[in-house]
Amino acid sequence: MIRAPWRLVPRTLPSPRMRVLAPMMAVALTVIFGCIVFASLGLSPLAAMKVFLIEPISTINGVSELLLKASPMCLIALGLAVGYRANVWNIGGEGQMYVGGIFASGLAIYFHERGGVWLLPAMVVAGAIGGALWASIPAVLKTRCHANEILVSLMLTYVADLLVKYLVYGPWQDPAANNFPLTVAFSDNAQFPMFAAFAGDWLEGTRVNVSLIITLVALPVAWLFMQRTFAGYQLTVAGLAPSAARYAGFSGPAAIWMALLIGGAAAGVAGVMEVAGPLGQLNDRWTPGYGFTAIIVATLGRLHPFGIALASLLMALVYLGGEAVQISLQLPKAISLVFQGLLLMLLLGCDVLVNYRLERRRPAATAAVEIK
């Protein structure tokens, strides 16, 4: 048997300060590893980093794009974090986002050119219902059949993806779209108005829209729910000590339902933000994976609303940076996936060292019996 000279020993009391510092260390390490990646591609690491991390947000337009990307990720991550705190691992935010987008699009298409001001709020509600409905499938299967929610919610993402494809290639395809997989462009009252439309010249040309307000409201609401409501407390107990929740008489199935429905609704609304925002229609490849990235956002943000807000901005920057290096340095856009992966793995690594310490194996332990 091969034995490493080091082993991991659990720490009795992981330092709470290090738990907060770990994400920051992971970010710093990601920058260092990123520099190595750039250098190995024959680029000046510092110049490339500047293109990747600083240039994208050096203009008002860049900041607008940052918020436009961060907002849905933040919203999904807030919903997922509620579940993760209760040990309910909803990995299917992406699929729930699709279904939210589908529900909202259905309304927008049905009431095309004839809806009133009520249409957009109705689409938001429909999106929340759609996402929650999609998330209720893993909830039913988990509470009735003990099916693992990680697998079910993940696999349902691919079902939702096919559902989107069916709709945009089939019944919802815009007849005027020359067979492209697109729906009609939504009419104005089915789209979030941009801030630029009423905020004056300095926002000229920016795309960030009023859906940002939803996320800004969701942040304190999520904090309030997690920290101050009894329902949030019950979910936390269910996550930290399931047998204490059982002892107290908190319903296990209720916790699973609540966790999944909240996560699904949040993801569904994020889907509405996209289809009724920058896209203005439904197509077959409209998401850059916000639902999956939100898992990293929630983890990086330590399942805390404030941390999640910061983490969503960071991940949005990684997306923008990926586009920037593609344009300026002719690197593949997949570089942002490399950075996402680096960040997640380094965070997990840092977390291991927060909870465990490295200890050198005693040479005696590797030797056989030692008797004089």
Partner: protein, 518 residues
């Protein structure tokens, strides 16, 4: 005995864990052919010391001398090679395979099971252990499992046998049998290190005793020159606290009634409950004695509501059928419960005492329109801390930072302050220091004096006799009918604990009878 050579000697053993010094310069000498007690409260450092001897952990400082030679014991394998055997408090046997297979898995290389089983029979017969090598372990009682563990050690003919709290799972009769075996081993020259916090056993069995307190050796003494009171004083550093018993109470109304409760076990090696009936009166403490694993956890699940039962009338609280209510609904009706697993079920380890007050006492003005009133929770936690003398830095202390005794006092306080009509306690003083245990017992007695019906499920027979008015015994998923404490004794209860009572066959359903091991 003084001229026999020293087999093992420890000197200045120090072992630190983050935040505590478990052993602080412990020295100890064990001679061949003696039963040497290591006595101390929970947390005094007994177990750490034994782990050092058995090579499970390495000391930070100090020396270990075996037969006059200084050496290190890097792992249990090395300890066994030297001739040190250890029987742990919690057995390390696989339930689903036979005794001989269990012994074989611990041996290196390929093992001839037939040959091995013959040796097991020989050794166990010689020491009166009565072990059948071909029986599957899940069929065995706790006492039988311990005999398997001892036999497994004896196969290696150890020079030193370490017994860690061996009697906690045994009936009084099985304890006597164990002592016979240990004496026989001693007389053949084996040294035995006997770890316990039970004073009567040490007086009865041991030749010498080393007393530990807070990681240090307080004294070494000869038990035959001591009494329980003097030993206890040395162990805890002050006088042994005693509970104030009240006079015979007048029997109140029936508050809590269980009638014909049967429940299938929900795990493969659990115990099914068979036709359990009992009545608890207001102002009475009913004790349920019995060795763990005889259906206690299943009974607690059913009584507290963590598992609901089909026949809702089988459990009645003040005349209301509660068999299908969840724990929260039962608490509303006045049933509170202190679980055995205090850090995990009774409290959330990483939460503050304020948050833990919320766990079961949230109905007492701590939640308004879905929002938590943390001030009310803090006040409540503060009241529990004050009224039950919980040693804690404050209401924001984390549950896991409290000692077992203090956390138990907090949980008990939290449940009592809800002014229950019925209180159920599971192993209320398990792993709790003596002073806290006395405080807990006193609180329970006082609670009953105020007219609350109390049900105590405990393995500690002495505790049951100390506080209960009536005693019932649980064995094999059945409950013997309770008898007044003044009309019974340890021997009778011990017999009942091994499953010998009238209800065991007579009143049971035919299906249940066939499930009883012959």
């Amino acid at each position: 005995m003084s001229e026999t050579p020293t087999l093992l000697s420890l000197s200045g053993i120090i072992k630190r864990y983050p935040g505590v010094v478990a052993c602080d310069g412990v020295s100890l000498e064990v001679k061949a052919g003696e039963i040497h007690a290591v006595l101390g409260e929970n947390g005094a450092g007994k177990s750490t010391l034994m782990k050092v001897i058995y090579g499970v952990t390495q000391p930070d400082a100090g020396t270990l001398t075996w037969k006059g030679e200084q050496l290190t014991i890097p792992n249990p394998k090395a300890a066994r090679a030297l001739g040190v055997g250890m029987v742990f408090q919690h057995f390390s046997l696989f339930d689903s395979i036979t005794v001989v297979e269990n012994v074989a898995v611990a041996l290196p290389g390929r093992v001839d099971l037939k040959e091995l089983s013959k040796r097991i029979s020989e050794v166990s017969e010689r020491y009166g252990l009565d072990v059948n090598p071909w029986r599957p372990v899940h069929d065995l009682s706790m006492g039988e499992r311990q005999r398997v563990e001892i036999t497994r050690c004896l196969l290696q003919s150890p020079k030193l046998l370490i017994m860690d709290e061996p009697t906690s799972v045994l009936t009084p009769q099985a304890v006597d049998q164990l002592f016979e075996t240990l004496r026989q081993l001693r007389d053949e020259g084996t040294a035995i290190l006997y770890i316990s916090h039970k004073l009567d056993e040490i007086l009865k069995l041991c030749d010498r005793a080393t007393i530990l307190r807070d990681g240090k050796v307080v004294t070494e003494t000869l038990p035959r020159e001591e009494t329980e009171a003097t030993l206890a004083q040395k162990m805890i550093g002050r006088k042994f606290p005693e509970c104030r018993r009240r006079d015979d109470h007048t029997e109140g109304a029936i508050v809590f009634e269980v009638a014909g409760l049967s429940l299938e076990a929900d795990t493969p090696f659990g115990t099914s409950l068979k036709n359990i009936s009992m009545r608890v009166h207001a102002g009475e403490i009913l004790g349920i004695a019995g060795i763990s694993g005889n259906g206690q956890s299943e009974l607690l699940d059913a009584l507290a509501g963590e598992r609901t039962i089909n026949d809702k009338n089988a459990i009645q609280l003040n005349g209301i059928a509660v068999g299908q209510l969840n724990p929260l609904q039962r608490r509303v009706l006045g049933l509170t419960y202190v679980p055995e697993d205090r850090l995990g079920s009774g409290a959330v380890a990483s939460m503050s005492l304020t948050h833990n007050a919320l766990l079961t006492a949230h109905r007492r003005g701590m939640v308004r329109t879905g929002l938590v009133n943390f001030r009310a929770a803090r006040d409540y936690a503060g009241r529990c801390i004050r009224e039950f003398q919980v040693k804690a830095p404050g209401t924001e202390a984390l549950a896991r930072n409290l000692s077992g005794g203090n956390l138990q006092k907090f949980i008990l306080g939290r449940e009592i302050a809800q002014e229950p009509k019925v209180l159920i306690l599971a192993q209320p003083t398990w792993g709790v220091d003596i002073a806290a245990a006395a405080a807990i017992r006193q609180a329970v007695i006082d609670l009953a004096a105020r007219g609350v019906a109390v049900l105590v499920i405990s393995e500690e027979l002495s505790e049951i006799f100390e506080i209960c008015d009536r005693i019932a015994v649980m064995a094999g998923g059945r409950l013997a009918s309770p008898r007044p404490v003044s009309e019974t004794n340890a021997a009778e209860i011990g017999l009942l604990m091994s499953g010998m009572f009238e209800g065991a066959a007579g009143q049971a359903t035919p299906a249940a009878v066939s499930a009883v091991p012959a």
